[in-house]
Each structure stands twice: as structure tokens, then as C-alpha cells.
Amino acid sequence: MSEPLANRRSVLRCMAWAGTGVLWTVAGGVPRSFAFSDRAGQIAAKDSGLTFVQISDSHIGFSKEANPDVAATLSLAIERINALDPQPAFILHTGDVTHLSKPSEFSTAADILKTLRAPVHVIPGEHDVIGDDDGSEFSARFPAAGRRGNGWYSFDAGGVHFTGLVNVLDFKAGGLGHLGDAQLEWLEDDLRGLSASTPIVVFAHMPLWNVYEPWGWGTDDSAQALAYLQRFGSVTVLNGHIHQVQQQVEGNTRFFTAMSTAYPQPAPGAAPTPGPLTVQPSRLREVIGLRDVQIEGRTGRLAVTDEPLARPA
């Protein structure tokens, strides 16, 4: 038996202001993430079989002080993605595409996302399903092959199995994000035929681990989903929702939340509420960061993560 879980578990936390996106490289089944500004990441991307990009929380329709022009910052993120060479295989948008689920917001968002050179896979956030109890309106706006139930689906790319989950429907009072029995049953089926050596990437809007319960930053029935994923050697969970980068590693599962393309939110518990965090306009688009080098004691595999952080003006 290797070291106890508690010793192997490392929790890396860093706060990042709103930025543009995170470039993901899957090399040998171990996803590594890089800030776009990191040259090493760009080089690694060229050597890899598959790259993809995650963006999140574009909140089209938001126009308050924290970011009066969220369409412009989403467009800027897309410019950066379109300039990548080689192009990512696809983009994952992990939800809150819109701010208030208004038809006009959806059409603006769709128009902007259409400018991406690579295809985009979208999963809804709670802001995208206001009054849309079963997610059907959202699924109609962002059709994806194989959507099941309330819009969850999976696909395979580059030897990796990607599973998109919907955890923003049917919230219970006082509760967190929610997957529901029907989706959990589908997930179990979806994973059944896969060998344990298949790298798995799960993407969903709300974090699948408990980031901060007082603000609802978690998913109440995620433990069951994670139990189905436990037998796999490499599981990466990508979420949005909290507008900042948080990471956690538990066993073979790595959890990452992403920055927003719109505005930052406070670190867990760092403010009275999780509302939009207003920074100086000149700092909103800054890429500010630290680098985490993560080494798994058991396998010796390592992942380098460069995350934006604030720089003094």
C-alpha cells in the first residue's frame, strides 16, 4: 500500500482574475494545463496528439461595473484561441454562456462563439436555464450529437473519453449543484465499456467537489459520480461557476475550476457574498499568475500549471 490518501492528497489553490482561457494538453493520458502566455506550453502543444481549450462563464448580457463589455472579453478570448497553432481539437465551454437566459443573450453568444475556428462543446450553467426546467431550450440552442436526458452527453477524442454533465437543474432549497438519479444511471452505463486505462475528462458547470458549501459551490450527489470514475487511472474534472482557478487532487482524480471570460468572483469566503468582484478596469484582462509543479508521489508523473495572478498596475 502506498502512502495514506491524506498524505498523497495535495490541495493547490490559487486565485486568478478574469482571463482568457486555459490550454489543455493531453500527453500520455496526463492532462497538463498552461496559461496561453507560457511558451513551454505552446511547444508541448505542438508535440502532443490532442489539445483542447476550456472557456467558461461568459455571462453574455452582464453589463455592470465588474465588466461592462463581456462580449468584448469573450471575443478577445476567442481571438487568442483562434491564433493558436496548432489549433485545438475543440473548445469546451463549461456554462453560464448567458447571464439571464434571454433569447437575445443566447443569440449574441452564439454569434460570437461561431467565430471560433474549432468546434465548441457547451454544457449549461444555472444562468442558462432560468425557467428551462429540463434544459431542453438550452439543448436546442446548442445541439450536440448524443445528448441524452436533460442534455448530458459524451464523446471520444484522441483516445480520451469526454463526458459532459449537467448539474444545474432541479436545485433543492438550501442545496448545491445536482446531477440526479437519471444522469448518474446514464453515467454508469456510459463508462461501463471503457478500460480502466482510458483517460477520462468530465466537464460540468458547477464544481464536482465541495469547494465552498456556504456559497453552494459543490454538487450534492457528486460522490456517486466519482465512485463510478474511481477505477480509472486518469480522471480530470473541469468546471466553471466560481470564476477563478481552484485545483484539487484526490487519488487519480484531478479537479480544476476555470476562470471566467467575464469577471472574477471572490475566493471562497473572502467576501460577504460570492457576487461579482470589481477590479480596476486596467487590471481586468491582466494575466497574473504563479506556476504550480505537481508531482504524483506514486507514479512520478508531473503536471505543470501556470495560472494567471494579479500583477501590480
Binding site: 455592470k64 461595473e65 465588474a66 447571464h99 439571464l100 437566459s101 444555472e126 444562468h127 432560468i130 425557467g131 426546467d133 436545485f171 433543492k172 432549497a173 438550501g174 442545496g175 448545491l176 456556504p214 456559497w215 453552494g216 460577504p272 457574498t273 460570492p274 457576487g275 461579482p276
Partner: protein
């Protein structure tokens, strides 16, 4: 009700009363000129204030969102629901049947409240 209203700023209170007038006048059981019972809940700092509100049957409750973030009102049984309430938006509902109505925000389910009609 008076104390509830004092929690609302003057401009907002006017908006609330206007919203209630629109909601109640065409359908309410009150004769023209009578003042329908009304109460207000403000949404501020990701909380319903007051969280528990006791009213008489027939009272119209108006929620006003004072936060930068949008919120919604949805009873746990989903029978009463607002759309998205952006900053300054109001939603009104008249409660006629006695009982306890538990509600929350569908964007932030950690936000909960009760309307007690008795």
C-alpha cells in the same frame, strides 16, 4: 409591514408599490380605492430580508432585488416562480391561502425564505 417597508429605500419602495399596484389592481378582491395589504422582502447580500415573513391572507408580497447579482424566487413546490430578477427588478405575488410557503433562489439555492400566511 411598516418595518418591512422601512428596509426599502424610497425609490425602490415606490417601484415596489407601483409593481404591486400593477399586479393587484386588475385582479385583487379589493374594491377600487381600498388599500390592499402589502408586504415587502428585499434581496440583498445574497439573502432574503426578512427571511421569514408572516402575513395575513390576501397580502401581496413584493420582492425587490438590491444586489448586483440576479436572483429568482421559486417556491420549493415550484407553484410560485419569478423570472430572473436583475438589479432593481421586482416580483409580486398575492398569497390567499393560509400555510407556510418555503421558497429559494434558483440561481443560488443556499438562499432560502418562508412566507407564513395566517
Amino acid at each position: 409591514m411598516t418595518s418591512a417597508h422601512t428596509l426599502v429605500g424610497t425609490a425602490l419602495a415606490t417601484a415596489v408599490l407601483l409593481a404591486m399596484a400593477v399586479a393587484v389592481t386588475p385582479y385583487g378582491p379589493f374594491a377600487a380605492g381600498a388599500t390592499p395589504p402589502a408586504a415587502a422582502v428585499t434581496i440583498e447580500e445574497f439573502a432574503f430580508v426578512p427571511g421569514d415573513l408572516t402575513i395575513a391572507p390576501g397580502t401581496t408580497v413584493a420582492w425587490v432585488n438590491k444586489d448586483e447579482a440576479p436572483h429568482t424566487i421559486i417556491t420549493d413546490d415550484k407553484t410560485v416562480r419569478s423570472g430572473a430578477l436583475d438589479t432593481g427588478d421586482a416580483f409580486s405575488h398575492q398569497f390567499t391561502t393560509p400555510g407556510t410557503y418555503s421558497y429559494h433562489c434558483s440561481l443560488h439555492p443556499q438562499m432560502t425564505g418562508h412566507i407564513i400566511v395566517q
